[in-house]
């Protein structure tokens, strides 16, 4: 019960932070590709840096000696294989088709974006496809793949140093490419307005999300938004007899595990319900809430993008939150691999999509 209450709190906090600081992996990447505006991506790096520090602090508590070959409990450290790279790439393509990653669709839902509902339906379908292809992919590439954890290789000090240096290097490159722009003069704004009406800078959300991620890992589980969606898909598929009888090895991996549902309100279910509700409350106060109509073309993009993301998130054992954020903070090589290939998929598909749209115009 305690874990359920905390999941509600953490989910609410996460939803509020996502909504307030527009912490949307796709939007901030697009800002950079289209306008060389790196502020959003730097906000994600801020979350990863704080999360890395906090996770290493907690790891020392959970597993004093990282060199025993054991992994810290529950941390999202997954197998590193070509399947992970492929799944991350497909996830990236899905993001640009549907215009958001899964966590951003959840907070957008709170802002009244009905289109996000269509994307989430796509995600459920994608999860179903993921379950159908899991057994072949598991034997083809996952079961023999190494589960690489930096502290296991170079200790906690080495791992934290390498991670922070890596993040600093990426930040330096981004800042070099960043094209500063004139921002409106905000000195006339009251504190209440800045807090409740205006979007927060992404780095503010990022720093707080980094802290929230550590608290969530310490008390309940790493941040992740797809376990519940996966459980719904798995339970539904199970009911209709659409799933393979046995999903090989799936339940033995740490990640956004997707168990067949046995309780109406699971921890992750509480987490994402609170996320959507908090985003709704926050959007309402800020005046960001508006029920948006959906055109047929947009709906198709949402659905197909959702399916690709669902398949990618199932196969990669998590999405941009569960595998990228929670994985990199945990110093899992799988988190970094996901980040690289997801960005690659997003960038390529976004360029193609823009070219197609331009040629049609």
């Amino acid at each position: 019960m305690e874990a359920l209450g905390l999941s509600l709190l953490f989910g609410g906090g996460f939803g509020l932070l996502l909504q307030r600081s527009r912490f949307c992996f796709f939007c901030v990447t697009r800002d950079f590709i289209d306008a060389r505006d790196a502020r959003g991506l730097l906000g994600i790096l801020a979350a990863l840096a704080i999360g890395t520090l906090g996770y290493h602090l907690v790891f020392g508590l959970f597993l004093p000696d990282p060199g025993t070959g054991r992994l810290p409990p529950d941390a999202h450290i997954g197998p590193v294989s070509w399947v992970l790279a492929l799944a991350a790439f497909v996830f990236g393509v899905g993001m640009s088709l549907s215009g958001s990653c899964i966590s951003a669709h959840l907070y957008r839902l709170g802002e009244g974006a009905l289109a996000s509902l269509i994307a989430l339906v796509g995600v459920l379908i994608g999860f179903g496809v993921g379950f159908a292809t899991w057994n072949s992919l598991y034997l083809a590439g996952i079961d023999q793949a190494p589960v690489l954890w930096l502290p296991g290789l170079i200790g906690y000090g080495g791992s934290a140093t390498v991670q922070l240096l890596g993040l600093a290097l990426i930040a330096a490159v981004l800042m070099r490419w960043h094209q500063p722009r004139q921002t409106s003069n905000q000195s006339t704004m009251s504190f209440a307005q800045a807090l409740l009406r205006q979007r927060w800078p992404t780095y503010v959300g990022g720093l707080l999300i980094g802290a929230l991620a550590v608290m969530a890992y310490l008390r309940v589980a790493p941040l992740g938004v797809t376990a519940e969606l996966g459980s719904i898909a798995r339970t539904a598929g199970d009911q209709f007899g659409l799933l393979p009888q046995r999903l090989q090895g799936l339940d033995s991996f740490s990640g956004c595990a997707t168990a067949v549902k046995n309780a109406i309100l699971s921890q992750n279910g509480a987490f994402i319900s609170a996320l959507v509700l908090a985003a709704f409350a926050s959007a309402l106060i800020a005046g960001d809430f508006s029920a948006q109509r959906v055109s047929v073309g947009k709906a198709l993009g949402q659905l197909s993008g959702g399916i690709l993301m669902g398949w990618g998130a199932m196969t990669a054992l998590g999405c941009t939150v569960g595998t990228l954020l929670s994985g990199i903070m945990a110093a899992a090589v799988s988190g970094w691999v996901f980040a690289v290939f997801c960005l690659l998929g997003l960038w390529l598909s976004w360029r193609i999509k823009r070219r197609v749209v331009r040629s049609l115009a």
Binding site: F62, P72, P73, L218
Partner: protein, 310 residues
């Protein structure tokens, strides 16, 4: 004046009563109460050990000073299906700072199933100053007692454990002898659910270890483990336990073998029968995952299912 002295006398009597009750619980050779343990945690010659099923639980909070033993890697042999070897077990205990004269208290989640399984392994290796925290982790948590996420490192201990004493462990041939009535003197207690016992299902939902056949070992009686505990997870009194098993025809006059699916819940019943009641009991750790998969052994299946529970 009279009322004051009466109150004082009543108070004194209540105090004496609670002290005796406390001592009675604390003085049990096999069980300790949460109350007692909470007051003894500072002792250097006491080691508290958690043996739980769910990963991540010990790390997020355990009884202060406790050491974690992982049943599925620390307490089993990693090559053959067997309990941990004498050598590895001794190394494990020394690492936990345990000496020959250290008092050991075991506790765990899910009603002490694996803690009782641990107690059975300690007994096999002749470590006898071992007691179980009555009610286990659930009761400790329910009472709002302190938990700590900090792990304690102890200076290595020097305990020497004896060679395995298999007189409290049953193997497949022992059980088959009972099933074929070659050994009519031994009684079998199946502690699984009635549905498993009757052969209506092979195993509870969601477990990976299964058997080809469903049902139970011929002649076994069914007393599910849950009947041995009170609402708060503590063991029922010795008298209640004696009556419970006597109702099923198990009165301690004959040797007993307990089993379940993988041998952990049956350790809980082994503990009740052997440690609390003092009966002659063996735990069959191969249990249904071995017996129900074995070729050429008789199975009693009340549900009439044959292959794969169909």
């Amino acid at each position: 004046m009279i009322s004051v002295s009466t109150t004082a006398r009543r108070f004194g009597a209540a105090l004496a009563l609670s002290l005796t009750a406390g001592l009675a619980q604390a003085n049990s050779d096999v069980l300790v109460s949460t109350d007692w343990l909470a007051g003894e945690l500072d002792r250097d010659d006491l080691r508290v050990i958690e043996v739980s099923v769910n990963p991540g639980q010990f790390e997020r909070g355990h009884i202060p000073g406790a050491v974690n033993l992982r049943w599925h890697t620390d307490l089993v042999d990693t090559v053959s299906r067997d309990i941990v070897s004498q050598e590895n077990f001794q190394a494990l205990l020394r690492e936990a700072g345990i000496n020959n004269d250290t008092d050991i208290v075991l506790y765990g989640d899910t009603n002490n199933w694996f803690a009782a399984w641990g107690a059975w392994i300690f007994e096999i290796y002749g470590v006898d100053n071992v007691r179980l925290l009555d009610g286990g982790r659930n009761k400790w948590e329910a009472e709002g007692r302190a938990l700590s996420p900090r792990q304690t490192n102890y200076a290595a201990g020097d305990i020497t454990v004896a060679a395995a004493d298999n007189s409290i462990r049953a193997f497949l041939p022992d059980v088959v002898d009972v099933a074929r009535r070659d050994d009519p003197s031994t009684q079998l207690v199946d502690i699984r659910s009635a549905a498993e016992y009757e052969g209506r299902i092979i195993a509870p939902d969601g477990v990976a270890e299964l058997a080809v056949r469903a049902g139970h070992i011929p002649s076994a009686v069914n007393v599910s483990w849950g009947q041995a505990v009170n609402e708060d997870g503590t063991f029922k009194s010795a008298d209640e336990l004696r009556a419970l098993y006597a109702d099923a025809g198990v009165d301690g006059s004959q040797p007993v073998i307990t089993y379940c699916r993988i041998g952990e819940r049956s350790s809980h019943t082994w503990f009740a029968l052997s440690k609390i009641l003092g009966y002659d009991v063996k735990n069959y750790d191969g249990s249904w995952t071995e017996y129900g998969n074995s070729v050429g052994v008789p199975v009693t299946n009340l549900a009439g299912t044959v292959w794969g529970g169909q």
